[in-house]
């Protein structure tokens, strides 16, 4: 099929297939999936500027489907999502400006890139370790109950051996202080939420895509949001931040909406399946399965450093 806007010829079945796989990942983990869709679109012959804009557009559509499903499951904190969206947009702009600035500095992008790799590998290692420790504790405390009873009791009640970290952040009393009853948070400083969202946005602006591999674990470990709610809220937040990205990229002529619409037909059903699958897993298992994703982000940084291209 000819896609006139980007001037490419791509078999729509490939696009639907890519969308389907990325949709499952997005629905289950609450990430955009740019680390997979971006390289795939590029490999199909789409120019790089269209890859970035079109991928963001398809993420908007997919996140609508997955967030709506998560909302039906009670996994979306709209108040938290709206606050995070503002922090993310500011972070994305800062990250994008940072890229522009670094282009004029010799070797600085290499140093920052290596810094990002260290951060992403650390996050992956940390999540693996934390999830594993929590599973060991759960196994000890749940040893007396039957498997079915444990599954029914604690599927959505999240546990973490690092819950004290988020409790420390909740004690940070810089006004305005807000409460997030849907996330089970009684008191938290608005600045703490904005800071977490801003850092995720900087990664997004610098590396492209939604950077859900930073934001989702940050919501769990730093803000103390239960994993299921973090996944659903992240998807809701992505609708706003990726929607903003869609508008800015489309004005610059970097979006082929027809490619995004075709991809999204596959992503819609994938996102439904991914979101439904979260019903069958505990938060700890979702986090453990999530652990390799930051490594893909690290791989992208290495690719960017070697080739000079950004996804």
């Amino acid at each position: 099929m000819d896609f006139l806007i980007s001037g490419t010829h791509i078999n729509p079945v490939y696009l639907i297939g890519i969308g389907f796989i990325v949709g499952i990942l997005g629905g289950f983990f609450g990430v955009g999936g740019s680390f997979l869709a971006g390289p795939a679109l590029f490999a199909l012959g789409m120019p790089m500027n269209f890859v970035i804009g079109t991928d963001l557009t398809h993420i908007v559509g997919k996140s609508v489907v997955a967030a709506k499903k998560h909302r039906a499951l009670g996994n979306v904190d709209i108040k938290l999502g709206l606050i995070m969206a503002s922090g993310t947009i500011a972070g994305v702009e800062t990250g994008a400006q940072g890229i522009q600035y670094l282009k004029h500095q010799a070797n600085v992008d290499v140093i920052v890139g290596i810094g990002f790799i260290v951060v992403l590998v650390s996050i992956s290692t940390f999540i693996s370790w934390e999830s594993w420790q929590t599973l060991k504790v759960q196994k000890k405390s749940g040893g007396m109950k039957s498997v079915a009873a444990v599954a029914n009791d604690t599927l959505k009640k999240d546990e973490s051996v690092l819950a004290h970290v988020s409790r420390q952040i909740h004690r940070f009393h810089l006004p305005p202080i807000i409460s997030l009853p849907n996330s089970g948070i009684e008191r938290v400083s608005l600045w703490a939420i904005l800071a977490v969202a801003f850092v995720g946005g900087v990664f997004s602006g610098f590396l492209g895509g939604g950077a859900g591999y930073i934001r989702m674990p940050s919501m769990v470990y730093l803000l103390g949001v239960p994993t299921h709610v973090a996944v659903g809220t992240d998807l809701f937040e992505i609708i706003i931040s990726a929607g903003y990205g869609t508008l800015t990229h489309a004005v610059k002529g970097n979006v082929d909406i027809m490619v995004a619409l075709v991809m999204h037909t596959g992503a819609a059903i994938g996102a439904q399946i991914g979101a439904t699958l979260t019903e069958y897993f505990r938060g700890t298992w979702i986090r453990l399965a999530f652990a390799p994703l930051p490594l893909i982000g690290a791989g992208l940084v290495i690719y960017s450093l070697v080739t000079g291209q950004h996804f």
Partner: protein, 82 residues
């Protein structure tokens, strides 16, 4: 045994949903997307700001409609399975 049969039924529901959904998508693809291309390209060439709003509106509307379709399909197939 009961859990296993439930899992098989759930997998069967998903496969049936995928099959029915594929038929819907094929029809949508040929009836709507195929004819939309030229008009959207014209808007892209003439007015980028309008194109940006149109692009966001199209993906949001498609997202909303496909969510309704996939949810309805899943509900229908599951209720028939029972």
């Amino acid at each position: 045994m009961k859990i296993r049969s439930q899992k098989i039924m759930s997998l069967g529901s998903y496969l049936t949903e995928l099959l029915v959904y594929a038929c819907f998508v094929s029809a949508y693809f040929f009836l709507v997307l195929h004819f939309l291309g030229d008009w959207v390209k014209q808007v892209f060439d003439e007015n980028k700001a309008l194109y940006a709003i149109l692009a966001l509106a199209l993906i949001l509307v498609q997202g909303y409609l496909l969510e309704i379709l996939t949810s309805a399909l899943l509900r229908m197939i599951r209720s028939k399975g029972r």
